[in-house]
């Protein structure tokens, strides 16, 4: 969030379980971060499960990145 404050595009990858905490922190720091939410958990996944999460999260990232680049 500090990075976004300094003008760097800094998407946060968070799992759904941690989203409220990240949002509370963002509010406390008065930032409105770009957030990519992936379903919990990430730790303990096997390769195939992780690949599936990567594919979904990457799709969100590409959309978000294109949008950020396009508007700057």
């Amino acid at each position: 969030m500090e990075l976004e404050k300094r003008g760097v595009v800094a998407p946060l990858v968070v799992t759904s379980t941690f989203l409220p905490l990240v949002q509370a922190q963002a509010k406390a720091r008065r930032v409105d971060p770009r957030v990519i939410v992936v379903p919990h958990p990430i730790g303990g996944l096997n390769e195939a499960e992780l690949a599936e999460k990567i594919a979904f999260a990457a799709a969100a990232l590409l959309a978000l990145a294109d949008e950020a680049r396009g508007t700057s």
Binding site: E2, L3, E4, K5, R6, G7, V8, V9, A10, P11, L12, V13, V14, T15, S16, T17, F18, L19, P20, L21, V22, Q23, A24, Q25, K27, A28, R30, V31, D32, P33, R34, V35, I36, V37, V38, P39, H40, P41, I42, G43, G44, L45, L50, A51, E52, K53, I54, F56, A57, A58, A60, L61, L62, A63, L64, A65, E67, A68, R69, S72
Partner: protein, 400 residues
């Protein structure tokens, strides 16, 4: 099966509001019941300790406002009625002071009742010396003596808050304290605070208003003259609220937040659940889990990953004077992209996988990489400086 609601949440405290928001964000029709006001225990607190992270403090009213705003934005309907019974079944049915409703899933997040000692005359003295809320009633006892009964972190915090107002604060610990060494140190350093262990209150004194308590310790019984008594023991869960769901000795329900109770699609989250940690961080995590589990229970068919981008808008909110979002002052461009891992298991792998897709998509050179030493420490300032100067975009693994 048609029901009045997809999800009915019982109790709009931290766990209930979080669960309701999660369920409503995935498009379900959600009602949240509270017999008082939304916020639950937050209503009684001013400063929150160890939230959002251990060692940090934050404001209770800010968190409450945020939880309520999120629930409203997600489309949660609030109903200020008491739920008197949850009849498990297909579908579950709720009896409330506002009538009966059915729901596809029920999330119980009623928290615990106020602390009570179970002594004769106690109820009559509530509001007349007997309290469970230092933030609300503390100022009534300025320059007077008070006793605090309990053994956990939050008891210690309440005693410390009272020490700023009362002339003396006697903390009566039924057995041995369970609070952390840091809390013990702060209590020891507070000159108006005395801690008595293996101490129980056996009777209350006072007619109309509290004038003292009889305390029993290994040394015998004695009267302690106090005008205030703050009790954090004897808090009870909602035993009997849900048909067929068993409770522990403290009345907290034996059911999961992530898996339905044996009796049907009923989930329990927050302090009301047997074995819960009883903290805001735990209530938030539990509420999220319960909300997701309810969604999964009602939408088994779509089973896929539900991925969303929350608020693709970004930058610094207008209140933050002086700081401006936008292009960084440096000379970075869009080929300069880095990954920043929090060192949690699989976080780096996830980032690298996502980074590889972005590299292919944008035809980028090698990506930069940084990581925190460990997940439990904040990012160090030098790393942030380096990333901010060198990169136009940094993909951050923030929490799992």
């Amino acid at each position: 099966m048609t029901t009045d609601w997809d999800v009915a949440v019982v109790g709009a405290g931290t766990a209930g509001l979080t669960a309701a928001t999660v369920a409503a964000r995935s498009g379900l029709r959600v009602v949240a019941y509270d017999r008082m006001a939304p916020g639950g225990q937050l209503v009684n607190l001013t400063v929150l300790h160890d939230f959002p992270q251990p060692g940090l403090v934050s404001g209770a009213s800010e968190l409450m406002a945020e939880l309520v705003a999120q629930a409203a934005a997600a489309g949660v309907t609030m109903n200020f009625a008491e739920v008197t019974r949850v009849h498990a079944g297909a579908p579950p049915r709720l009896s409330t002071t506002d009538g009966e409703v059915t729901a596809g899933a029920v999330l119980v997040a009623t928290g615990l009742s106020a602390g009570r000692l179970g002594l004769r005359g106690e109820e009559e003295l509530v509001g007349r010396g007997v309290s469970t809320c230092a933030g609300c009633d503390g100022p009534l006892f300025r320059d007077r003596s008070v006793a605090v009964v309990g053994d956990d972190e939050w008891t210690a915090d309440e005693a410390l808050e009272l020490a700023g107002l009362a002339s003396t604060v006697t903390v009566l610990v039924p057995g041995e304290p369970r609070w952390s060494a840091a809390r013990a140190e702060r209590l020891a350093a507070a000159d108006r605070v005395e801690v008595l262990t293996s101490a129980s209150v056996v009777a209350l004194r006072g007619s109309g208003v509290l004038s003292g308590v009889i305390v029993r310790t290994a040394g015998g019984e004695r009267e302690l003259a106090v005008s205030g008594l703050f009790s954090y023991v004897g808090r009870r869960g909602p035993a009997g609220l849900v048909d067929g769901v068993p409770a522990d000795a403290a009345g907290r329900l034996h059911a999961g937040s992530g898996a339905p109770a044996a009796v049907g699609p009923v989930f329990v989250a927050g302090d009301a659940r047997a074995g819960a940690e009883q903290s805001l961080a735990a209530a938030t995590a539990d509420g999220t889990r319960a909300g997701e589990a309810a969604v999964a229970a009602l939408r088994p068919a779509d089973g896929g990953l539900n991925l969303r981008i929350i608020d693709p808008t970004h930058g610094v909110l207008p209140e933050d004077e002086g700081a401006a979002a936008g292009a960084p002052a440096g000379t970075t461009d869009w080929t300069q992209v880095a990954l920043f891992s929090n060192s949690k298991p699989n976080a780096t792998e996830l980032l690298q996988g996502m980074g590889a897709k972005l590299r292919a998509h944008w035809d980028l050179p090698e990506l930069g990489f940084a990581s925190k030493e460990s997940a439990s420490v904040p990012a160090d300032g030098d790393t942030i400086d380096w990333l901010a100067q060198r990169y136009r975009m940094v993909l951050v693994a923030a929490g799992d």
